[in-house]
């Protein structure tokens, strides 16, 4: 099934991912205090 793309004005999905130290983080915590650019990488480097 094709993923649904997001557009400006849409609510950003909030789900849990891991920090680099292995502890969980809710994505919403990233933008609660200040705007958050999210960069999804497909490779390191």
């Amino acid at each position: 099934m094709a993923e649904q793309t997001l557009r400006p004005g849409d609510q950003a999905p909030d789900l849990e991912v891991d920090r680099a130290d292995g502890t969980p983080l809710a994505l919403a915590a990233l933008w609660r205090e200040r705007p958050a650019p999210l960069v999804f990488l497909r490779h390191y480097g």
């Binding site: 993923e3 557009r7 400006p8 849409d10 991912v17 983080l25 933008w31 705007p35 480097g45």
Partner: protein, 131 residues
């Protein structure tokens, strides 16, 4: 990314990766990145943001080779994909209310946003929030 928006205190840049936490940590340490480095090996966040898996042509085709050559000409080198080589990346800007202010879906694995596009989106958002 650093060249695009630098390191600002008024935004919180986060890098999401498909690697394990220790791989994300090593990458950010090696690159001396002060951004928030995150790990999502299950790629749930990639799917939630609508980032699709590309076709073979989109992740290994001539367009990617050309983009890699262009990047190399600027002194940047593409790394080896981690985990799912077909998964495409993407860039988003989310405001403090959790709304998408900017979304960039690449057409293929080497497709980068035009220079200044994200920076301009950040500046527009900060200006509107201050106004």
């Amino acid at each position: 990314m650093r060249g695009e928006i630098g390191e600002r205190d008024d935004i919180g840049v986060a890098l999401l990766t498909m690697g394990k936490p220790e791989q994300a940590a090593e990458f950010c340490r090696n690159q001396r990145l002060s951004y928030t480095c995150l790990s999502d090996p299950a790629r749930r966040s990639y799917r939630a943001f609508g980032l699709r898996r590309g076709s073979m042509a989109e992740v290994m085709g001539p367009a990617l080779a050309l983009a890699a050559l262009r990047a190399a000409g600027k002194g940047h080198f593409m790394g080896r994909p981690v985990d799912d080589v077909y998964q495409l990346g993407g860039i988003f800007l989310v405001d403090r209310q959790g709304r998408i202010a900017y979304a960039r879906y690449p057409r293929h694995a080497g497709d980068q946003p035009p220079a200044g596009e994200l920076k301009n989106a950040v500046l527009r958002l900060l200006t509107s929030a201050a106004g």
